[in-house]
Amino acid sequence: MNPGGLSAIVPMACVTAAALAAMTAEAFRSRGERMPIGPLGLIGFIGAALSVALLWNRNQASFGMVVADNFGLFTTGVLVVVGVLSLAISEPTLDRERLPRGEYYALMLFATAGMMLMATASDLLLIFLALEILSLAVYVLTGLRRDSPSSAEAAFKYFLLGAFSSAFFLYGIAFTYGVTGSTRLADIGTVIAARAMSPTLLQLASVGLLLVGFAFKVSAVPFHMWTPDAYEGAPTSVTAFMSTGVKAAAFAAFARVFLAAFEPLRDEWSMLVWGIAAATMIMGTVVGVAQTSVKRMLAYSSIAHGGYLLVAIVSANDIGKSAVLFYLLTYAVTNIGAFGVVAVLEDAERPNDRITDYAGLWATHPGLAVLMTIFLLSLGGFPPFGGFIAKWYVFNAAVNAGYNWLAVIGVLTSVVSVFFYLRIVVMMYMTPSDNPARFPAVPRMAAAALIVSAILVVYLGILPTAILNLARASIATIF
């Protein structure tokens, strides 16, 4: 590892600078003036993307706590994609809900910076710090619709449970420090490996507590309770952002901690994560079937997708590790796309959030209906879309690692999930609309973001090799 000075933090510094610029711009905005604050964020993301490209394969480290290894950089890249797409689909939500632009963009950028830090941090304390940076920003974003009780409720629930999980996480760090005498992941790994034969109770407790902390953040069952409420109550563009960004950051850190530092204890935690993965997939899909609100349904769907990601983590082989990365990217573009369609269809008078509200969408908005279909089919795991390749890759990892039953649960739950994704498709195409032309016009920026997402989804489904190879190259340096 090269002591590269500050270079490892350049990506998040770019985003943070953009966030500060957004805040400053908001402060100097005269009342009623429309400022292009969104594009400021875009500039930050372009900077982050460029620095990711420049840092690639260099293994730079800063302060001994932030490592820009390829794994972290790949995740940072995913977060850039998440950030750019989220910015692009935000406009309709901001207009309709009359959200404060400056705050919104600044918080989103700060959250992204925290996510990037979380993905590249190599010290438990720094991971915690990053977790708090992103969480605080996202709590506020969730509650940004100040006049809406459901938004406030969502933010409050999310905050309370999040704080609770942070406590678990912090306890876990403390115990780990007590056992190993360090918070650096590399040192922890070395110490544990040296005496892996007989893990003490304290050691197991530290692993368990950290597991709970991560499980909260990736909304794994049974720590998923906050997810549907928070996702439903938050402004839809925020839901798109946090259902993908938070998950990407948390899974990156999860993989780093459990597959690198706690790797010697895998025998102890793998059965536990196996159970959580199975429960998450089953719970997410089965409860998803019963939803009548599109946002809640997508919330349960994203819980289920967390389960598939956990399958990749349990598998713990090279395929599984790269599957985490590939899955995160595919899931991110697909899910932002799906939530993006929901966001542009919302109307000031009516939320248009019931599944039945989508009746006849094909007749009125054929383009949006086709885009939504692509996203839903990809979430359901149909070829030739990215979701299929991602799921195949995860199940491939599970089969190669000998977790056949987990793979069986995975494929069967994904059949069940097809049922509820298709409910929306049925509505859009096969059910006549009782009251057409209720949907608002689609802003150009959001439409572009949705089209780009759809193109990426198809690209990842048909020509996945380049990204797969990139993901495989990304895991070589740390595990």
């Binding site: 070829p383 793979a407 069967l412 049922f419 049925v426 195409y429 059910t431 090799t465």
Partner: protein, 506 residues
């Protein structure tokens, strides 16, 4: 020198045609849209005929093979090729698609462009299934094919279309995802061989899979294919899907889609897992025979013509599975032949039922009667197709069923004996239906002035009848390329001695 990639061209052309339809500016210019789609599908058919023309019938190997690395880390490639087993299925797909498009000319007037696009995309995916010689690619086409069919049933179907469409897709998926896992498992086994990770069918044929794993893998494959065929008791999606689908959808569903199940058994399940295949063959045959009799009996009591034809498919495809399970030359050759026959004759039956229901908007047998006097030409075509379906000597159905029964008898006379009753039963329900619809006095006044065959309907029925006669009179033309490929498949299946296998499994 690079040869012309004819298989890729056949797979790609319908999809490109679908994209071309998007370029037509005026969505309501139905005539132009239909004509474009029809021209594309006829061109595809021409390509498939060219393929059959250039095919070397003496060779058992895959021909026109193309390979391009796709996901090289796992040995996944875009690999396509045809042998005698898949050749005619590709031609059949090319043959039925223009007919299906023609059948929609009068009956589909809503969202015509999307309809034509779905039919063409479906054609691409179906041909892709038949020509893939890479398991991963096969699965991609296999699953991708569900989407256009789902829309065809769900958007343009009859009253209970949504239920039927969702049932169709969920049933099929439930079976096929387990097959995906089995595919992953087989490929994983290949990763320890000298050649490394591969999904290539030809290399996996040579893999010796441990007997206990074969058991599970075969079950997973067989379940996916049994649902698709559909084999009793996995057939319940079929009557719904068939009845609710528009005529074009039914024609393709019966003509091509169901063949994917039986094709999968011949191409994948049996040769890849010969040990388990030998073990399970009697069970499959038992289900097939139950399906033959059960399908026929249920068909007999249907008041709805479309449902009757749907159940007759369950019965007829039971024959195909029986022939495959027999695992001898006659049985498998007959099975492959019968797949084609069923595609032609059942496709024809659905067309005729569609024509009747376009005229009267009902498919109930009781609503008709005495049509012979009103529409002599349509009834004549109906008669020929009916005879072809029940296997009258001289028409196509006879050859396939005869070969299958011959093969089944050599293997297990009891199965053959029960299956033979199916032949009688099929004559009973088909002729009885024919009689009730076409003979006797015109009981319903609405039937008195129905128009006879229109020119466009001639265009649909004449090819079907010509094929039915050709395949009945000149079976050798069609069987010649099939024979070597079947022998090769049987060599793979019998490569391990069955007695030793049973011992291993117990």
């Amino acid at each position: 020198m690079m040869t012309f990639p004819i298989l890729s061209a056949i797979v790609a052309l319908p999809a490109l045609g679908a994209a071309l339809l998007l370029l037509i500016r005026d969505e309501h210019n139905e005539g132009l849209i239909r004509k474009t789609a029809l021209v594309v599908s006829v061109l595809v058919f021409a390509e498939t005929v060219l393929l059959a023309w250039q095919f070397n019938p003496a060779s058992a190997d895959f021909q026109f093979v193309e390979r391009h690395a796709w996901i090289p880390v796992f040995g996944i490639s875009y690999a396509v090729g045809v042998d005698g087993i898949s050749l005619w299925l590709v031609v059949l797909t090319g043959f039925l698609t223009p007919i299906a498009l023609l059948s929609a000319w009068e009956s589909i007037h809503r969202k015509t462009r999307a309809f034509c696009m779905m039919v063409l995309l479906l054609e691409s995916a179906m041909i892709g299934v038949f020509v893939s010689i890479d398991l991963f690619l096969f699965y991609v086409f296999w699953d991708a094919m569900l989407i256009p069919m789902y829309f065809l049933i769900g958007i343009w179907g009859y009253e209970r279309r949504i239920y039927a469409a969702v049932k169709f897709i969920l049933y099929t998926m439930a079976g096929s995802v387990l097959m995906l896992l089995a595919i992953l498992g087989v490929a994983y086994l290949s990763s320890t061989t000298p050649g490394g990770y591969t999904f290539d069918l030809l290399r996996l044929y040579e893999l010796s899979v441990p007997a206990n794993l074969q058991f599970w893998f075969f079950l997973a494959f067989a379940l996916a294919f049994a649902i698709k065929v559909p084999l009793f008791p996995f057939h319940t999606w079929l009557p719904d899907a068939h009845v609710e689908a528009p005529t074009a959808g039914s024609v393709i569903l019966a003509g091509v889609l169901l063949k994917m199940g039986t094709y999968g058994l011949v191409r994948f399940a049996f040769p890849l897992f010969p040990v388990a295949a030998a073990y399970f063959a009697p069970y499959l045959a038992a289900l097939a025979v139950i399906g033959i009799v059960y399908g026929a009996l249920v068909a007999m009591v249907q008041p709805d013509m479309k449902k009757l034809v749907a159940y007759s498919s369950v019965s007829h495809l039971g024959f195909v599975v029986l022939g495959i399970a027999a695992m001898n030359t006659q049985g498998v050759q007959g099975a492959v032949y019968q797949m084609l026959n069923h595609g032609v004759s059942t496709g024809g039956l659905f067309l005729i039922v569609g024509m009747l229901s376009d005229r009267r908007h009902t498919r109930l047998i009781a609503e008709y009667g005495g049509l012979k006097k009103v529409m002599p030409r349509l009834v004549a075509a109906f008669f020929i197709v009916t005879l072809s379906s029940i296997g009258l000597p001289g028409l196509n159905g006879f050859v396939g069923e005869f070969l299958i029964l011959l093969g089944a008898f050599a293997w297990n006379p009891r199965f053959a004996a029960i299956a033979a009753t199916g032949v009688v039963l099929s004559a009973t329900y088909m002729l009885w239906m024919f009689q009730r619809v076409n003979y006797g006095p015109v009981t319903n006044d609405q039937n008195a002035s129905l128009p006879d065959l229109r020119p466009r309907e001639w265009l649909q029925l004449v090819p079907i009848i010509v094929m039915a006669v050709l395949m009945g009179v000149l079976p050798n033309v069609f069987l010649r390329p099939i024979a070597p490929a079947v022998e090769r498949m049987l060599d793979l299946v019998h490569s391990e001695a069955p007695s030793q296998i049973r011992a291993e499994l117990r």
